[in-house]
């Protein structure tokens, strides 16, 4: 294995694990749910992305698994992560965990606000 390549892999791994850790750290540390929501959903995508990239590099060079199949993992993660985040945010809003601004173009009344969480 090429030294440079090795260092590159190590760097990718370091970056990946760093972002994963930061995401979790944010999750643990931040005080508000919506702030926490940013940490893992983001950092993890890049973090896991880096690790997967490293894995592709590693297995391709070692020849035990020449296909860059890990890309598929990334692809799926990129499709599903927004779904998760979207629904978690919706759920949190439904539980009134944050006040949300009134939707433009709609008169906002107290009664409406409730109806909004469960749009008519």
């Amino acid at each position: 294995m090429n030294m440079l390549f090795a260092i590159l892999l190590a760097a990718l791994l370091a970056a990946g694990s760093f972002f994963i850790l930061v995401g979790s750290y944010g999750l643990a540390k931040l005080s508000d749910f919506f702030k926490r929501l940013h940490g893992p959903t983001k950092a993890s995508t890049l973090g896991v992305g880096c690790v997967l990239l490293a894995s592709v590099g590693y297995h391709t060079t070692l020849g035990s698994d020449p296909q860059p199949r890990e890309l598929l993992v990334t692809a799926f993660l990129f499709i599903t992560a927004p779904i998760s985040a979207h629904l978690m945010a919706k759920a949190a809003l439904s539980l009134k965990m944050a006040t949300r601004p009134p939707e433009p173009g709609r008169a906002q009344t107290a009664a409406d606000e409730r109806a909004e969480d469960e749009p008519a």
Binding site: S17, S64, L87
Partner: protein
């Protein structure tokens, strides 16, 4: 240090860092305080698990954990979705 050993060390270190990340997520999972927090923590655990799986595959130099990682990436969000949907509507299939 050979390139191999550098990578090997990096892999093992990364595994521990990701493990640490999982512990942080675990803390949030146990602590809450709200249900969405716990859901989020579980989601994070799943994502971290993908990384851990790939790292373990590299550590053992085997592609055998690919399927498991693929499944988590592909379907790990199911838990998050149904739990959130339960909060939203209770009847998750309408």
């Amino acid at each position: 240090m050979t390139p191999e050993s550098i990578v090997a060390v990096a892999i093992v270190a990364s595994m521990h860092v990701v493990g640490l990340a999982m512990l942080l997520a675990l803390w949030r999972l146990l602590r809450g305080p709200t249900v969405p927090d716990r859901i989020l923590a579980l989601d994070t655990l799943f994502v971290a698990a993908i990384a851990e799986l790939m790292l373990f595959g590299m550590h053992l130099d085997t592609p055998i954990y690919f399927e498991a990682a693929l499944i988590i990436a592909m379907l790990g969000f199911v838990g998050t979705v149904v739990l959130s949907k339960y909060i939203l509507r209770r009847d998750i299939v309408e």
